[in-house]
């Protein structure tokens, strides 16, 4: 046998030995999850979204989620890195623009599909197939359409979320312009070379800093971007499937209710989110999804993946419609606290809650430096908050 084959055989022959007690414990856990999934039909039943969209609470939270996720990129880029703030300027001239953006890992993250015409955006999201949003960034309004029920609701987008949505678009356009011209001195991209991507020859550029990394792959012939990856702290976002100046029917981005749709009232205050909102949101998360433990991580994508599961989780609690709504609002405001974080001037957040049980007063799960504060705010496992000097922060 050749030495290479010998190594292969050795690797194949490696056996694992497992602890029978743990084998059984894990199997019991899986069987329990199977039972739960069958009982509440959230995961097992296809088209769970249809059920999800029937209640007021989830409709509101889903709409909020979509708005919030669109906000995160610009906020963090603009406020974390002044150099990147400089590139947020509306210079791209395309009349219409279509692209997908994926929060989280490209292969498993939530995909949002945007069709942009002027100051209007038509937005759909992969995890919420029954819903379409039309965003009017000029007038800070959003129309949310639910196709199955043929209803529509208007939301006020004034405040940081509306601004963020508008600026995000500017950021995308400006990034594209950077690739086309490659002349911006402070952008200082490093060439990554040429490769094949989806059957096209593309050239890559990377730029960024310790906190913000951007990688752009553009078609070598047209210089138009094919894929843009942004890494902002723990958050990864991919923009791809770009189309430029394709005809877009005005009706697709109209703020008028389509024929046959009825108007539904919807109210949700998304003007601000405080530390207390964040704590309330975390509490909801641990109670609904992680059996009293803090989650592994709390990126925007983590929040987004939980949104479609809210309804199933809340149903088990037998709450009144108003209580359900409050719970959903708390969860979304927790997410909003993080997305508004840099915009509000706070700094330096760390999450260390992975695996910590709720109530564990000895472990710090989150800390950050509020705007203009000397000390850090530290949230512990029992959800109390203390002011702690920088040199006494958890290691």
């Amino acid at each position: 046998m050749r030495p290479t084959d010998q190594i292969k055989q050795t690797l194949k022959d490696i056996k694992v030995k497992t602890n029978p007690t743990v084998n059984q414990a894990v199997l019991d856990d899986l069987l329990g999850r199977l039972e739960t999934a069958q009982q509440n039909n959230v995961s097992v039943k296809p088209n769970a979204w249809r059920t999800f969209m029937k209640t007021r609470m989830t409709k509101l939270t889903a709409a909020a989620a979509v708005l919030i996720v669109g906000f995160v990129i610009w906020t963090q880029v603009a406020f974390v890195q002044p150099t990147f703030a400089d590139i947020v300027r509306p210079l791209m001239t395309a009349q219409t623009l279509i692209y997908d953006f994926i929060t989280g890992l490209e292969e498993s993250g939530t995909t949002m599909h945007d069709i942009v015409k002027g100051s209007r955006i038509r937005r759909t999201i992969s995890t919420m197939p029954g819903m379409t949003m039309i965003l009017d960034t000029e007038n800070s309004r959003m129309l949310v359409l639910q196709h199955e029920k043929k209803t529509g609701s208007y939301f006020d987008m004034k405040g940081p979320l509306g601004l963020g949505t508008e600026e995000f678009l500017k950021f995308v356009r400006e990034t594209i312009r950077q690739v086309q011209t490659q002349t911006e001195p402070q952008y200082a991209p490093v060439k990554l070379g040429v490769k094949e991507l989806d059957g096209r020859k593309v050239v890559g550029y990377a730029a960024g800093s310790e906190h913000v990394k951007i990688e752009i792959w553009a078609d070598v012939k047209t210089s138009l971007p094919v894929k843009i990856t942004l890494g902002i702290g723990p958050q990864t976002t991919t923009l791809k499937n770009f189309e430029f100046d394709v005809p877009v029917d005005d009706a697709l981005v109209s703020m008028d209710l389509p024929a046959g749709y009825t108007l539904e009232e919807a109210q949700m205050d998304l003007s601000d989110a405080t530390e207390q909102d964040f704590i309330a949101g975390l509490k909801v998360w641990t109670e609904l999804f992680t059996d009293g433990y803090f989650p592994e991580s709390i990126t925007v994508d983590d929040y987004m993946k939980k949104v479609p599961l809210l309804e199933g989780a809340v149903t088990k609690l037998n709450l009144s419609p108003e209580e359900s709504k409050q719970l959903g609002v708390s969860f979304m405001k927790g997410m909003m606290f993080l997305t508004l974080f840099e915009a509000k001037g706070h700094k330096d957040w760390h999450y260390a809650g992975n695996g910590v049980k709720v109530g564990d007063a000895s472990k710090a799960i989150f800390w950050y430096k509020p705007k203009d504060a000397q000390d850090y705010r530290v949230i512990y496992g029992d959800l109390r908050v203390e002011d702690v000097p920088a040199d006494q922060l958890p290691q």
Binding site: P3, T4, Q6, I7, K8, T10, L11, K12, D13, I14, K15, V16, K17, T18, N19, T21, V22, N23, A25, V26, L27, D29, L30, L31, R33, L34, A37, Q38, S43, V44, K45, P46, L105, E107, S108, E196, E210, P234, F289, T290, D291, G292, Y293, E296, S297, H350, A352, N354, G355, V356
Partner: protein, 181 residues
């Protein structure tokens, strides 16, 4: 393959024994793959546990276009890569330790029992760069084609082949007949 399709069909109808069979059938192979990919044992264990949970979560809409083994192996490989990336990111921001994901579940004790041969195997694997480790393990132990691995690693087959060959060559010198199974 046919057995797997039957098991999935029965599992969709709520048959608990099908889940037991799938678990028994693939548990050890997945643990071996995860343990080869990740140096932290508890993270490797969590990765396999999470892959099974994810399988249960999507059973209602799950369709086997390839093999169930391939699906579960891909789940483990993707999660292992995420863990590895997260670790690298944590290192960048200066956090040395990452707690293993609990997923709301406390295992009573360690799942993988390690003997000398297994330790040697993991020790050698840990010395390979992650992409080489992944190429070797997924091809040899996960029975994956190089083209599939190339798609996962978002690179060319040529690069994967090269990573695989470098990995095998290095393993040969590292293990050098020391592992007895």
């Amino acid at each position: 393959m046919i057995e797997d399709k039957m098991l999935i069909w029965k599992l969709r109808k709520g048959d608990r024994s099908s889940l037991c069979r799938i678990y028994e059938k693939y548990r050890d192979d997945l643990l071996r793959i995860a343990a080869g990919l990740l140096t932290d044992t508890s993270q490797a264990e969590d990765t396999v546990h999470d892959a099974f949970i994810s399988f249960i979560d999507c059973i209602g809409t799950f369709s086997v276009t390839g093999s169930l083994r391939g699906y579960l192996t891909t789940c483990v490989a993707n999660r292992a890569r995420n863990v590895n990336r997260a670790k690298a990111r944590h290192r960048e921001v200066g956090i040395d330790e990452i707690d293993p994901p609990a997923g709301g579940f406390d295992r009573p004790e360690q799942w993988l029992l390690q003997d000398e041969a297994f330790e040697q195997f993991r020790g050698a694997m840990a010395q390979l760069p992650y992409e080489q480790r992944e190429a070797v393990i997924l091809h040899v132990q996960g029975q994956m084609k190089f083209s599939t691995i190339a798609a996962m690693q978002q690179t060319s087959i040529k690069t994967v082949l090269s990573r695989y060959r470098y990995g095998i060559t290095k393993l040969r010198s590292l293990l050098n007949g020391e592992v007895t199974v």
